[in-house]
Symmetry: D2
Subunit: 484 residues, 4 copies
Amino acid sequence: MEQQTHPKHYCGVFGVYGHPNAAELTYYGLYALQHRGQESAGIVSCDGKQFHEHKGMGLVPQVFKGKVLHELIGEMAIGHARYSTTGSSHIGNAQPLTVDCSRGRIAIAHNGNLTNASQLREELEEKGSIFQTTVDSEIVLHWLAQPTHNGENTLVTTIRKLEGAFSLLIMTQSEMIGVRDPYGFRPLCIGQLANGSYVLSSETCALDLIEAKFVRDVEPGEIVIIDEKGLRSIQAFPEHKKRSFCIFEYVYFARPDSTLADQNVYKVRVNMGKELARENPLDADIVVPIPDSGNCAALGYSLESGIPFEMAFVRNHYVGRSFLQPSQLIRDFNVRVKLNLITDLVKGKRVIIVDDSIVRGTTCKKRVNSLKEAGAKEVHVLVSCPPHKNPCVYGIDFPDRNKLMAANYNLDEICQYLDADSLNYLSQDGMVRATGKPKDSFCMACYDGVYPVEYDPGVDKHIMERRRERFEKLVGDDSQPKLL
Amino acid sequence: MEQQTHPKHYCGVFGVYGHPNAAELTYYGLYALQHRGQESAGIVSCDGKQFHEHKGMGLVPQVFKGKVLHELIGEMAIGHARYSTTGSSHIGNAQPLTVDCSRGRIAIAHNGNLTNASQLREELEEKGSIFQTTVDSEIVLHWLAQPTHNGENTLVTTIRKLEGAFSLLIMTQSEMIGVRDPYGFRPLCIGQLANGSYVLSSETCALDLIEAKFVRDVEPGEIVIIDEKGLRSIQAFPEHKKRSFCIFEYVYFARPDSTLADQNVYKVRVNMGKELARENPLDADIVVPIPDSGNCAALGYSLESGIPFEMAFVRNHYVGRSFLQPSQLIRDFNVRVKLNLITDLVKGKRVIIVDDSIVRGTTCKKRVNSLKEAGAKEVHVLVSCPPHKNPCVYGIDFPDRNKLMAANYNLDEICQYLDADSLNYLSQDGMVRATGKPKDSFCMACYDGVYPVEYDPGVDKHIMERRRERFEKLVGDDSQPKLL
Amino acid sequence: MEQQTHPKHYCGVFGVYGHPNAAELTYYGLYALQHRGQESAGIVSCDGKQFHEHKGMGLVPQVFKGKVLHELIGEMAIGHARYSTTGSSHIGNAQPLTVDCSRGRIAIAHNGNLTNASQLREELEEKGSIFQTTVDSEIVLHWLAQPTHNGENTLVTTIRKLEGAFSLLIMTQSEMIGVRDPYGFRPLCIGQLANGSYVLSSETCALDLIEAKFVRDVEPGEIVIIDEKGLRSIQAFPEHKKRSFCIFEYVYFARPDSTLADQNVYKVRVNMGKELARENPLDADIVVPIPDSGNCAALGYSLESGIPFEMAFVRNHYVGRSFLQPSQLIRDFNVRVKLNLITDLVKGKRVIIVDDSIVRGTTCKKRVNSLKEAGAKEVHVLVSCPPHKNPCVYGIDFPDRNKLMAANYNLDEICQYLDADSLNYLSQDGMVRATGKPKDSFCMACYDGVYPVEYDPGVDKHIMERRRERFEKLVGDDSQPKLL
Amino acid sequence: MEQQTHPKHYCGVFGVYGHPNAAELTYYGLYALQHRGQESAGIVSCDGKQFHEHKGMGLVPQVFKGKVLHELIGEMAIGHARYSTTGSSHIGNAQPLTVDCSRGRIAIAHNGNLTNASQLREELEEKGSIFQTTVDSEIVLHWLAQPTHNGENTLVTTIRKLEGAFSLLIMTQSEMIGVRDPYGFRPLCIGQLANGSYVLSSETCALDLIEAKFVRDVEPGEIVIIDEKGLRSIQAFPEHKKRSFCIFEYVYFARPDSTLADQNVYKVRVNMGKELARENPLDADIVVPIPDSGNCAALGYSLESGIPFEMAFVRNHYVGRSFLQPSQLIRDFNVRVKLNLITDLVKGKRVIIVDDSIVRGTTCKKRVNSLKEAGAKEVHVLVSCPPHKNPCVYGIDFPDRNKLMAANYNLDEICQYLDADSLNYLSQDGMVRATGKPKDSFCMACYDGVYPVEYDPGVDKHIMERRRERFEKLVGDDSQPKLL
């Protein structure tokens, strides 16, 4: 078990209050949010007295097999689907996290990343707290369990301690609570079933699947409490923060059939393709998407430019269904097994390929190469967002800066590496225009390096060192047994 | 175990001769042919002396897990991926089938359906043959094992007995043989690896994955023998039969990146969409495919008509990866979980939806309904092939005639059932035009009812009765122990 | 898949006729016979029309998990538990074997070994038969399916062709048949349930578990037919053969709670220990069994000699429940993990250890060694049967003669190898006396080399050569495609 | 997930310090201790910097399959095998438990039961502690993590807070620590490998398997610290407590090849049989053990009385290897499938059966019944310990008093219920004599009701009520969101 203080990850959360099949509906909700986390999944239900919990590694239907779901009884449930970096990929870090404390039983599911996790954890450890996981939810739970003084409101006090990105679901024996950080980095919305039951979800696509009506987004800094008296809301933060919704949710992360902040994702992506066509008119015969990530933008490009749209790369629909023996025999097997190129469509043509991002460039290079081998006369690469130059500290697991191609090479160098005839990215302004929203409603730190909430990796490093030192002092005392 | 004499099924076959990793390449080949059969898979290799075999239920990578592949040593291998109706869905019917006989060890993999299977089996049983499976391959093997007289060639004699559709791969200790029925119902092609090794495959997309070059199709009635002296060929049938390639392979069955009889499937499907547009010009705002089956034809319709193409139905990429708990709570769950509709794209629009076929109509009806619920002003349904009115007896498992919608209702009735504003099918001529080939090169029995090879279900019924009678006589003799 | 003509194996068979839960009772029967075969298991039931079958690799409860048993409907069922040598250890060789033929559907389960299997198979192959397995049952089925002439009784004709050891269960659509070879090598008995249903079983312990009453043994050469009119019997062989029951069933193979040929196995084994004491009086402090194989004989020795019985070797009850990581770190781990020695009981003592056989001697040597290390003053080894000097050709998988210790070394050499203070075997006469039966009722070929039915390994070798030759001729014809 | 404050359970613990294969040796150690807990298992290793952990539900080899063990690198490891009542049977309660705290990373494995767990937990919750499990180890960890004042020694302070039974293994980044409660309820011993590495184990049988030499028992109240400087020891408690070793470890719980407090368990059990013979001379023909629990005592009875020992109940060696379909068809199936009775041995005989305990009596009644059905003339039941009249609060999961037969019925009533001809238990004095130790060295609370450490179930009930009340108050405040 590798020790990590606060691994970056992205996740999906979903909860239902007041339905006899709360856990089953949560299961379908997580299934619709599967794209936000494929590593582990968990659901905790409450029947008013007891909590019932099941968590496991794998996809949602792999985790909830057989009769497991029938045991999660009760009219309330919250669930979580998780992705994380390898180090902390084990069942102990699966969420929701449930604990007993002086305030009763509490379960939490978290999407986002706390930028002051190390500090909060250090402070707690000094008070005598123990940590069994490396997830931020455990930090939140510890603070919720602390004794309060002078009639403070525990939840508000706790939320105000947290910095960074967080969309939280909290369940107690009698209520389901949704919380969104004051910047609104990660999405969280409210839905309602035909019977009046409330639903909280990371994205609207999960509401569609269970036939819940979209009510509204949870506002930045808002705490929404759902209990037997209905839905109430309070603003946890006195002053307003700059709205900082993650623009990468539109570019790549959310499902095209979700609507985020009143904009449908599919339409935004088609708009990005149109902007791309306006910014980069090219003389070419066909526009080919990299399926499925480039589909919308390529279509937008085609609609705007009039150049025909051709799905020349064909996906193997069985990739990912079960583990395929990787081949040493076949060149670029892993790339080629996913998509096969229809040679007939590209031979002798000037081809534009469109994708939503280039992270390391290796796969894109192979696509360009296979087009050239198939006889394409020219290959032009278009990317439907600006170059990624900075890591994300608010919950998306980008590679380190030194592995981000655009942080280390200029346009010409990348184009040469890809062996393409031209390479162009969408501009930051074009991307924002495609969303139909003002630029200052977004966090675009991965593109422009402007971080709405400060995060100093040096602080974390310093804390780790202090920690090691403290242990070493303990160990260093030779006269006595070490733990004594 | 349900007893069935000759269940209809479709399948994929793949074989490699003369490569040290023959079984591994066959594994990748079957993976690329997975769409032709997801029920069971098998590979038999030969190291010149011993045969090595592994078969199992499930998808190709599920069957060949762990080190199984490493045990299939030898430079020759043939493989099979199979789909069948429930009744005969068990491991005993998985192929290739391998036997010992007086001619040594022989393995067979079969794609197609013999129309005289019952007769051939009855004849063999009367000679004293025993049957352990219900697959046609076993019948072929029995005939191959029969003693021959007067210098007859066993293989030719056997092949000439077979009627119906068959693309066969046969492996002995020293050769790999490909056979295609004289009508050429099912595809079979020859490829070659960089090192000169020959490959036989149902479709060309499997050649692409392992980087084999396409050489040519096996001709109808041709026997291709590959051994250490190379590739030889003979024509097994003296007289020429009417070429009868299954046009449904273009419409639906083959992968879009395959080329069948020199025509790329993707292009043929786009052409079908264009023909559809020419035959059915409609006044509408958007053309929406049913993904992924309607993608090509919808694109063709859009290109020809100029009406914008919009992928308003979004696939859940995780459907099918593992078994999802079906919901009783949610209306039309099974249909809706696969595709979600983006309401924003269709609200207030006149929508054309395109699919490649309507078999029972129930799913299509639900798609029309969800479009209407989302606010579409009009919904026009277009199908990129003619109505299916007849069952297939050459290896494709269509429902019985009484479950084929178009065999029982006229266009208006179906349109009314679907609750669509209009419904149109591509004409038979339009479909043929889209292939760029003459009409008489195809079997179109499922559309036009013209069966190139006779099949009389009455004969089978009669054989079953004769059989039952014979057993009952045996049982009826009271004076003696029954088997005695 | 390794090709073998007739692998040696031992097995258990069990069948029920006329009970609504025939398959479930067969399952319990096989469970009680699990010691006779742990490699694969299978059950075939018949509901009067259809056969229902399930087979798999592994222990009986592993093969019949979940709802599998509920699908094996019908009032008749036969089952088989199998052990075999590695080469033919695959699902294709699991029994019962079921086929369709001109006589209807027939299933067979076989315990024993045919000594003329190769000849029978060669004869069938020459007639055009194909073989999908390497088990003897397939040979029997082929003969049963052959057309008969002149009013011959197929079953009797077939049985008379078979040579060697066979206890067979056969099921048709209307009857269950038990057959035992004319020498009576392997056991087979008849039982009856409270409701009158008949049961056939390899051993009586399986009757006890399902509360069936023991009726009688099937006689050597007898065919027992059970159908809706009850139980009938015929003698298949006109002349009487020398009774040759396998004495090793008493020594080692059967369960102690079974009664074979009217003698309880436990009692016979205790008697063997008493005979051992009479033949080998020793001056010692304690008698220690090698558990559990030596328990009865050690107890018999103690009762006869008055020397106290001490269970100084303690079994780990969890060994075998699931696969334990073998240790390279720990000397003789595999031997030691099964039994731990209680040092306190043997320190300073003169110890007799008793086991039922010594095959290769390596394990016994380690037991002697651990006793010496624990401080035993003397270690005397007693074996409750005579030395094994010859292979078995009637269905028990002894190692080859060159691996049988007693075939290659004399008593002194073995004793020296074991590092024991003395070594003694029970005499052949002593062993026979312990059974309470005359010597000429047994096959004792593994001890005395007298084989009741001839078996010439040279014949098999010759057949294999003829076969290879035949194939090579076929392959050798260069002018034509090889199979043609 | 059912909420329980401190479920009763028994367990085995094992640890290795200073060996390159520490985790692998711990695995074998746990395997040898499998009888102490079959529900879950876990190992945590430390490579000096990082901890590596794997835990799972099931038997030790099921939990540590494949390459799992290879990932548990480091020269230190502690492990735990656990049994518990159903309620808390889930992976979250598997041990060892590992946490991060201000003192670094700490792992704990616990055998026993804290009698003041509820109080300690309430006290911690009031300080703001959160609880993720219901195991006592988590309580210990919380106390270890608390800030200390005035130079207190954290470990000693913590240990002194604990009441009840505990044998603990604790691992930090640089040391392995063993702790035993001051009464010495549960065993814990020290061993040493050939290379000098220290081992801590619940029982000596685990030392034997890995060829470690027994050094000595950990003393009651002792803390043993093993680090790079070797083994040191301190006494954590100033005053001496009454030694209270659990006598039931000798009677039933420990393996016969273990030595506890210098007495071999097998010998003690044979002595119990001898004492039983002295206290209860009976006129009978044979002594039959209930295998394997009654083996030693029956042997002792036979040795002392001269009445022959017969193993008339035969165990099915495959029971427990995999899940057997339970039968509704067969009377008393679950009892009968484990043991089959050899009728021949008992017919017409006066039979004594010996077992180590009768808890509910139902199984024993069935054994008596099957003996009578088999024709036994008389059946006398002897139990090799006194009647169980009281529950255990120190870590053994006896049924509640109202399900303990001997707590509710007198000897005659039980005998009548069993339908036996006589019934006798070993006396308390006889049991103690058999151990060769003074009576005051034992806890015999389950027999004599004298509890060395007080435990008041009323206190726990009161705490539970206080807790519920506190939550309800929180919930009752209507004016505000509940957690706020």
